[in-house]
Symmetry: C2
Subunit: 510 residues, 2 copies
């Protein structure tokens, strides 16, 4: 074996070991959410901390750095994919090593404190309890941005962690569109749209029957129960132990089947991405999802473009109706389709519909950017928050727990995460538009309950590549252009002007 080859294998073996630890951490977390008894939590936390620290140590060790730099200097002698792995790993290594251990410890303590204060503040519905700890987090994040380095705007350094290559410049443009076009569209619907009856969605739906129905939906999407499973947890999530074991969870509410249905299809979309990664790249960049935005594009494409489409319910409404004759016997397909697509402003992000959702993200994006650049301060945060909800959604926030304290992200020090939710939807719209052109009878296939070609398309164009391409590179390869908001807007206009029975002329008469 050549020296280079042996070194590359040494690198692969080290990366796989790190992945083995990370996968074990994922299992410790998953088990905590799904199975673990109450009293085990404290020592479980310690186990997670030990394993996480070990993975970080291995990832940032000097020896590993030497190996990576050595491989990097000979990357022209490696295959294209091997070279890509090395380049991305070295990038990651350099970035991780920019943060000194002292900073990581400080930040970790701040996270713990902030999380505890956030819990307390939520209970008391009192933002002031969280203020000081959030200020510490914001200051540390600014320090982090400086340590990592950035062009143009410190927020770029934070964004990069979740969405490589994303910038304030790009997001300002995108959310500028949201601010203008989407807000306007929502107002048009409000003025001209015809709402539909949906109260039957809150009738009784037996939990066990819902569970069985959810399993069928997952199977229909192509989710492989020999390489995964579904369980119940408080909040639905997807977790990956390897590309051969990706699990989803769901939650079921007896008076709202959409909770479970939406959860299954959304998490199923995440899971299919992870299951489509190549096992031979287990532990390497080419075996990891490329970004949060692309991950979310997969869950949203399935949840919204498939799961909330008329075609999907052509395939699935009858079985659902048969399962719940008492609750859906007097409802027809069209009524059901309109009911599940009713739009409603709300002060809570997690229950937002697919349109209003982006106004919630817009607000968070503007606030995060403002906090990091210093144009907004924590003291005025609650006021800013409430004002923006009034401006963009015309909703009054009843108290901080339903307002500025509603999300855990900031308490966990996650800034730059929220925008990826919207990026995901916008990528999804653009990808789905292209898939519909590549598979002309896609909607007919979906209406037949046949998702095979769609899944194949996603696997071929997106899943298999791992981190070989960034989000933007992927988007360009697939659709011939970078992320473009117009696809989402077109999708929204077409779908909702039909559902709400209004047209351009009515609006123009204004």
């Amino acid at each position: 074996m050549s020296n280079l080859k042996s070194k590359y294998e040494q690198y692969v073996s080290h990366m796989r070991k790190i992945q083995d630890i990370n996968s074990s951490v994922a299992l410790l977390h998953w088990d905590n959410e799904v199975n673990a008894p109450l009293k085990g939590a404290q020592l479980r936390g310690q186990q997670i901390a030990t394993l996480s620290a070990t993975a970080h140590e291995w990832l940032t060790s000097d020896d590993f750095g030497i190996l990576l730099k050595d491989l990097f200097s000979q990357k022209h002698l490696l295959s294209e994919n091997e070279a890509k792995n090395v380049v991305l790993s070295l990038e990651h290594f350099n970035k991780e090593n920019k943060l000194p251990t002292s900073f990581i410890k400080k930040f970790s303590t701040a996270q713990t404190n902030a999380f505890q204060a956030w819990i307390k503040a939520r209970k008391a519905k009192d933002f002031s309890i969280f203020k000081n700890e959030l200020t510490v987090i914001v200051n540390l994040l600014r320090e982090k941005a400086d340590l990592i380095g950035y062009d143009d705007h410190p927020y770029n350094a934070l964004l990069d962690e979740f969405e490589k290559g994303a910038t304030v410049k790009q997001l300002d443009l995108l959310f500028g569109n949201v601010r203008k076009e989407l807000v306007q569209f929502v107002n048009e619907i409000k003025l001209y749209g015809k709402t539909s009856e949906k109260s039957f969605l809150n009738r009784h739906y037996d939990k066990k029957k819902q569970w069985d129905f959810g399993i069928k939906l997952l199977k229909q999407m192509g989710y492989d129960f020999d390489a995964g499973r579904q369980d119940i947890s408080e909040h639905p999530f997807t977790t990956t132990f390897s590309p051969r074991d990706v699990r989803v969870t769901t939650r079921i509410e007896e008076d709202n089947p959409l909770e479970m249905i939406g959860g299954c299809v959304h998490e199923g979309g995440h899971a299919l991405y992870e299951l489509g990664l190549k096992p031979e790249y287990y532990g390497l960049p080419l075996g990891l999802p490329t970004s949060l935005g692309i991950h979310e594009s997969q869950s949203r494409l399935w949840e919204n473009h498939v799961g909330l489409s008329l075609a999907y319910w052509k395939a699935n409404f009858e079985p659902l109706q048969k399962l719940f004759p008492a609750s859906l016997g007097d409802v027809n397909l069209n009524q059901f389709y309109k009911a599940i697509n009713q739009l409603e402003p709300n002060c809570l992000r997690t229950v937002a519909d697919e349109i209003h959702y982006h106004l919630h993200v817009l607000i968070r994006y503007e606030i995060e950017k403002g906090l990091i650049e210093g144009s907004i301060d924590v003291d005025s945060l609650e006021q800013v928050w409430n004002q923006k909800y009034m401006d963009f959604l015309q909703v009054e926030v009843p108290h901080a727990t339903y307002g500025v304290l509603q999300d855990v992200h900031w308490a966990e020090g996650l800034f730059g995460y929220f925008p990826t939710y919207s990026l995901g939807s916008f990528y999804a719209a653009q990808f789905f538009d292209k898939a519909s052109k590549d598979i002309p009878d896609l909607y007919e296939q979906i209406a037949d309950g046949n998702m095979k070609n769609l899944l194949e398309w996603l696997r071929y164009h997106i899943h298999q590549h791992g981190q070989k391409y960034t989000s933007e590179e992927l988007c360009l390869r697939i659709t011939g252009e970078g992320l473009n908001f117009k696809y989402f807007m077109e999708y929204a206009r077409k779908k909702y002007s039909e559902i709400y029975c209004f047209n351009k002329e009515m609006v123009e008469e204004l």
Copy 2:
């Protein structure tokens, strides 16, 4: 903080980290048995291997050795318990370091090969397929004994791994008793005993109802479902993630409720031991079970002395009967008690009753000792096995899969493990005898479904100590003497001569 104190804390922190890894390995295994999808197995195996290797590396590192030796040299300045932890950890360290990495790798490969050959051989019911690989294992185990070192007999070195301090000398005496007294007693029962009807045990017992009943039995024993859970697996087992999270599994057969009941009570006994260890010693010797024999004494005490007693069914027969009126409506308590205690020789260890069980272990003990000392060779093993089953149990072995290939232990390189099953039962009899003296109305309490005092007794005398005392030290402390077979024999004679309605006079008339 004094230098010594800081060093002791360094030691504790290192041990806890090792325990964190070991607990994660336990979760990876547990999840494999209970949850994991089929296709995830291969990469899961790799994750287990990485974590296990890491724990071993940390346990045997030079730096850790220096720390341990340093602490050992100052142990007179530590508290009694601290000193004990250090002494035991250093012992363990020295033992682990006696095996060079080259040996561990060789042995690991041999285990993998032997396991695969064993699977193949079982399928083909052909021992010859397993012969070569078993020979490799036996030779390596002899090498291992030499590397570790031993007094008197190489088998002692292997025994010590599972039952510290156990020796061939002790076991020869014990199994000499089994060979003489127990074999004779089984013959007496055969000649003079009156068997009872038990076919009603194979009527239909609904799985869900059995499950609920099992949960109640576990709760009755004092098993805390906030610090554990029960799941279904192919073979029942107990697994520990921390003294605050100890889980059991069971299996349920529709035509045999004893499978589930026995499983719950047996695994519950194991779990209560682990839950009784002191959390402040998590990761340290004083926080770990002292030996396999003592572990098994806890499961067997509950399974046999409690779960198969008349008192236990005074508390539990009526609820069981109410649950299954169609299957048990025509059965009374006494009939049920006799039915569940019928003795029957069989060629399979895992289905053996509490008496014949020890003849199975006797056979394995004699063979293991013979293989290690060289008085039995692998070539003649099947013949020796079958002959012993004829001699001691008067059963004919139909084929190798039901004979010499029935257990996985040898394929996994585990020699010296089997005797701990019998040691467990014998310790259990001696402990239970003492507990009955300390709690004079113990049977009445059990008949009331009240196990609190028994559990308290076990916690106080056994569970809390961890490895502070060896099996024999523990036995001496509790009962005033070392392990003595007579307690088991007395228990067996008293119980089964009643159940089988015969007495000494009848035997002596022979």
